[in-house]
Symmetry: C2
Subunit: 599 residues, 2 copies
């Protein structure tokens, strides 16, 4: 099927054949993943939308696509507005829109393996108020018409060594078992792919940029577990690593296994497990307890080995970034560097590193106006040269065996305007306000978000995304439950009190549509802060990312003394951490880029 219009038409015919008046298409898989394998990219196949968050609803006469503020521009460039209406989240939602648009008495289909139970309940209620009905499908109707749909990956699992994990898989299972006993439960369902990878100390290659394998797991109160994963993916090394405490099953056996919990108490995470899992357990006569996946908090709170690995990965990655930025400085003025060439070069530099496994997400390589598209992904069609007088924004990260990185830098090509410097300096002030924040234990990320915005607010400006997301250890680059963003915003993750060992991004920005984008992103680690005379246990951040912040975009006159001290001190650390990995012209460039700013 050549065009998106044809696909939409085919879906409508398929729905009609299935006696449905509509269908909801989320961007996720059976594991509620943020990044999904190619076999599950139904939203992209149907609409053309390539962002990392969104959903769609198809009705007989109209169709709508739902994205948040990060994708306002992108959706308009990728999805045909003559067939799709653009809807903004959180101003509206699939359920709210259905309440307003579903035909009276209509039957709206959904795939129970792709939605949470909460969504199903909300959608049911919303449709009921229209006299319409929400109907589970046996087979996803998109799969019926997507004839060349890719197969699920067959990649093998690999062992994540205890030296990097910091805790053996057996210990982790024992802790989950103790937790289950404390909660009077017999077993927990793990369905989030990164939870399974973390709990079993394994990594996979089934999803782009996140080293996880398609699997389900059941962990029991006695500390043993059942792991459901295609047997072809398990080599002898992994089998030996998993040991006797883990019983292996085909992934397809998972649904059936849920049927054996009659009379047992099973913990299922309502945010991370799909509705079909709840239904299967309830049908079997199990007592389902809705509690958060017990791996979430221990996974978020990095142990000493994970922190050491992260620091090591960051130092290597920082050196790569410095070499890249030097290259941009040297090459861009010649007029032949474009977005794709730049991001290819950065990836090549990262691949020189033996511990590098993958990018942690598709690099955002945005020249000029493309930098203003918050989650931009360059393509042959949109590719732009890095032109004189413009800004270039590069947001990228690597998956290393010892840590996951994520960094954004913004650099001027040629001479920046005063406005660019004003905006960049405000973003930097917000970045520093978060980096230097001190706050009592129990503080949530939402309470710190405005520190990053205040310098922009003072000029009547803002940015339409959160300030920070959690980051995994050689796992998801977006990992909950902690984050730094206003309550109620569309960013992933909850609003968890920050605890020592959590890693977050610190990434305020500013975007001028059609002109340029600015973002400064470092990763930070939550640490305890000793303050003389303190009455509370206080926390703060240790910055983990080391790479120059472009001095040519900083208006030093706007900085408070403490801000200037922070910047110069940060740059001294950059030289100390990544300088030893560089030599020759790269090292010379780094020293100049990190020279203290005098005022």
């Amino acid at each position: 099927m050549s065009s998106y219009a044809d696909r939409l038409k085919a879906l409508r015919e398929q729905l009609k054949a299935n006696s449905l008046d509509g269908f909801v298409v989320p961007l996720t898989d059976e594991h509620m993943s943020e990044y999904v394998g190619s076999y599950a990219q139904r939203l992209a196949w149907l609409t053309g939308f390539e962002g990392s968050a969104g959903s769609a609803v198809v009705l007989p006469e109209e169709a709508a696509i739902f994205v948040d503020g990060r994708y306002t521009l992108q959706v308009r460039s990728q999805v045909d507005g003559s067939h799709w209406s653009y809807q903004s989240v959180p101003e509206t939602s699939t359920t709210q829109w259905l309440e307003e648009h579903a035909p009276d008495g209509g039957r709206i289909g959904y795939d129970p393996w792709l939605h949470t139970r909460d969504w199903v309940k909300k959608a049911k209620d919303a449709l009921a108020s229209r006299g319409a009905e929400l109907v589970p499908v046996e087979r996803n109707p998109i799969d019926e018409i997507w004839t060349d749909r890719p197969e699920a990956s067959k990649a093998k699992l690999v062992v994540q060594p205890d030296d990097f994990a910091g805790k053996s898989a057996a210990e982790k299972r024992t802790e989950i078992g103790d937790w289950l006993t404390k909660h009077h439960a017999d077993a927990a369902v793990l369905s989030a792919l990164d939870s399974i990878a973390w709990a079993f100390n394994v990594r996979g290659q089934d999803v782009s940029h996140t080293p996880v394998a398609l699997a389900y797991a059941l962990v029991h109160a006695d500390g043993t577990a059942d792991l459901f994963v295609a047997s072809e993916k398990i080599g002898p090394d992994v089998q030996q690593h998993l040991g006797n405490g883990v019983r292996l099953h085909e992934r397809s056996a998972f649904e059936g296994a849920l049927g054996e919990f009659k009379g047992k108490t099973v913990v299922v995470d309502p945010e991370r497990a799909v509705a079909a899992i709840f239904e299967a357990l309830e049908k079997a006569g199990a007592k389902v307890v809705a509690l958060r996946d017990p791996t979430i908090l221990p996974k978020a709170i990095k142990n000493d080995a994970e922190i050491a690995g992260q620091k090591s990965a960051q130092e290597r990655d920082g050196a790569v970034i410095a070499r890249f930025l030097h290259w941009v400085d040297a090459e861009a003025p010649k007029g032949e560097v474009d977005e794709l060439k730049a991001s290819d070069h950065l990836e090549a530099l990262r691949r020189e590193n033996g511990e590098f496994r993958d990018l942690s997400f598709d690099s955002i390589s945005g020249a000029g106006p493309n930098g203003a598209i918050v989650h931009y992904r360059s393509s042959e069609k949109t590719n732009r040269k890095l032109e004189q007088g413009s800004l270039y924004l590069i947001d990228s990260g690597g998956q290393y065996v010892d840590g996951t990185t994520d960094i954004t830098r913004t650099v001027p090509i040629g001479q920046p305007t005063d406005e660019m410097c004003d905006r960049f300096t405000r973003v930097l002030q917000g970045h520093i306000a978060v980096a230097t924040a001190v706050f009592p234990k129990g503080t949530r990320g939402s309470q710190l978000d405005s520190f990053a915005r205040r310098p922009l607010w003072e000029a009547g400006l803002d940015y339409a995304h959160g300030t920070g997301h959690g980051v995994g250890s050689f796992l998801s680059v977006h990992e909950g439950p902690q984050r730094i963003s206003p309550v109620g915003s569309a960013q992933s993750g909850g609003d968890e009190p920050l605890l020592p060992g959590m890693i977050l991004s610190n990434e305020p920005g500013y975007y001028k549509t059609g002109e340029y984008g600015i973002r400064i992103e470092n990763l930070v680690l939550v640490v305890e802060r000793e303050i003389e005379g303190a009455e509370k246990d206080m926390l703060g951040f240790e910055t983990l990312t080391f790479a120059p912040i472009d001095r040519r975009l900083i208006d030093a006159e706007m900085l408070e003394t403490e801000e200037l001290v922070w910047l110069n001190c940060y740059h001294a650390h950059v030289v100390a951490r990544i300088g030893p990995q560089l030599s020759g012209a790269d090292l010379e460039w780094l020293r100049a880029a990190c020279a203290p700013i005098e005022r």
Copy 2:
């Protein structure tokens, strides 16, 4: 019954006679009021607790009282720990505690006229997990044993003139009617007393410090209304003011009137209406739509007349405060001023004002360590002298016909310590950070709260209350839905986006238990802010309260230049606004107290 122990014993006997194993005692009335008439002060009568927020649960062998961080100290001084266990909200709650403590198979009573439907549902679920049952009572068992319980007030209603209200009651009813039509509803239940006072432009005297009358109302889509209020409270002036569009009924007829909505759609506010109202409507066969009371937002967004009235009331109140602070300065060093004498003197000064009607809450007059009790109320037993070397904290407000005030000042008696000045200056910096905040339309108060805390956090300090609450127009001194406090904190009100016309308090503090308390509170008005080059509609605050902030407690060296400019500019405005009302030594004192700080 002489002692609280006897009362607890009598309640347990009464419960036993009613075949109940427990009872829940909230601090509210049938209108979910924060301040309640003496007839409804069951929690205080049973436990001795005099704070403005709390609840209790009585079981056969144990009893618990639940308060938030504001009352941690107070509850221990007022409630006997040998009979009551102290519980902290939000760490626990009545429902969570019941889930852990209710006897297996027990019957726990509650008064359906004193709880929200959400609480009833939560409590039912919590008890069900213990195999226990939540049982509504026909008559409150406390009323059975409280033999000298005061009668409900018989005070007459008074008309709130349109000149102050800024909009006629008929217009307000028409707007509510239009809103109902838009929501396809036939009628709205108004049960919050300040909503009724606001909607009908009447005021009452039935609740201490809040000028409201005990009443219920039903507003219909056609703009007419039924008002349920004791007929003895309605004089001919009020009857004429209400007009033909309002049908009068006895308050006792309200429950019966709910029985007449068969087949009709009725809006009820689940946060403000008690469970019994929902039950009566559902029993009658009405379709109940849970939506926010339609008066809440228009009441919160003050119109021009209300803003003008508020400013006028603030200017008069500020002059009273200045005279009071001058008096403290002059009298306290003589050693004979104590907390009660001081608050009596302040009330007397306020009463000289013709527009003064009542205090807006019980003044918090805290000398030395009593200032550290956040919602302290002085009594003969706790009364302290204002001693040399101590701090004195006065938090008080007035109900004037044109506005409600609320101000806190902290003053040194004699020479303050360096630590006191450091803490006061940090609180002032937090106060200024809120006063000068600029933020885009759509920002919630929770996003501004940390601005007030950062200077304290930097020293490892904090305060255990929100930064700001909404304030009514000659109505409740705590009025929702806007507030400035972290999401999930126990303060009243929701977390509404701030809109021009909303009034809030700005009141950071610092409390050193056993030594002193500091709070600086002004009221602020949300206003539009014009910023050159702004890309967003921006908002900010205009400070409404004018009275000196004590210069003797400010360490000017700690202030940023902008902070010092704000302070000196604020003091210049204080002299300009309230100076003209003062003369002689008072005026001289004011000028000295407001002299610019040079550095």
